[in-house]
Symmetry: C2
Subunit: 160 residues, 2 copies
Amino acid sequence: MPHNRKRQPRTNDRLHLDRFIPYRLSVLTNTVSMSIARAYEREFGLSIPEWRVMAVLARYPDLSAIEVAERTAMDKVAVSRAVSTLLSHGRLTRSYDETDKRRSILRLSQSGLAVYKKVAPLALRYERKLLNALSAADRRALDQLVSALMERARRIAAQW
Amino acid sequence: MPHNRKRQPRTNDRLHLDRFIPYRLSVLTNTVSMSIARAYEREFGLSIPEWRVMAVLARYPDLSAIEVAERTAMDKVAVSRAVSTLLSHGRLTRSYDETDKRRSILRLSQSGLAVYKKVAPLALRYERKLLNALSAADRRALDQLVSALMERARRIAAQW
DNA sequence: GATAAGTCGTTACAATTGAAACTATTCATA
DNA sequence: TATGAATAGTTTCAATTGTAACGACTTATC
């Protein structure tokens, strides 16, 4: 019997939920998202979709709803709902494109901008807290891994 | 002007959705989960909660519903619903603990086990496909990063 | 310039999920 | 052994989300 038998490979042929990356990613993401969502909700009455719309409009004003959807990986119905509640709370202004009356032009209002300026640091603080666990090198590694997996996941989704 | 000015750090003070790790994790997880869910649904009529219950019972037979919930990071209502549809499809058997009649004892039926044996390879194949993008070293790194982040996220969630 | 096909955004309806209340049972304590 | 608190699991109701259909408008084609 060989004494230097290889260690079990991480990905083996039996399914073990605790080692199954899609599952672990899902649990991790849920935990993270729930923490953040709770804070947004508690302190600003914002849902995650609403917050995402605000974040993207803060950086790119005057997008249409569809453009917001593209940049936030939300579908257009979700954007439509988020926009409508943000409008009703006065956090957004909406006008329409003169040359294409279907397209909306969305922008943070004064009050929306003010809220954004308070929420953004909260979000960043959370992220910093989370990444505190990691060395600078690990953070770079994480960054690249997430990018690589994302690309791969997209490709697979297209095939399946 | 110094020519060797440092590169911008990855985590800076402005919020950029594409660089915000919680957001990126969320998009990645959704993409991955949807691919898998679609395949389960298409080929076996299983939802993700149902599939998780089956996976954990395959490895640990005779758990109670609460124990399943603990091991799958689902809440007990979700488990109750998944169990009830699995029972109605004959994929599970349920008995009750003699000494504590509240506790159920769940176990895959013959047919459940048969389904499991077909689904598990599908899941593992997906994972392998996803991780193909990565070197062995990267895979180990991913493993550790997810663990570290998970621990950290739990800790933060407890505080907040 | 009429018609068909496509796009933007909303609405309506169904399915999923979450939170709270509930039943049945057990446990702790007096 | 009676009573209050706790636990396992289900049910109910409300909120969220996904899908499909729709109205308004624009673009392409004839």
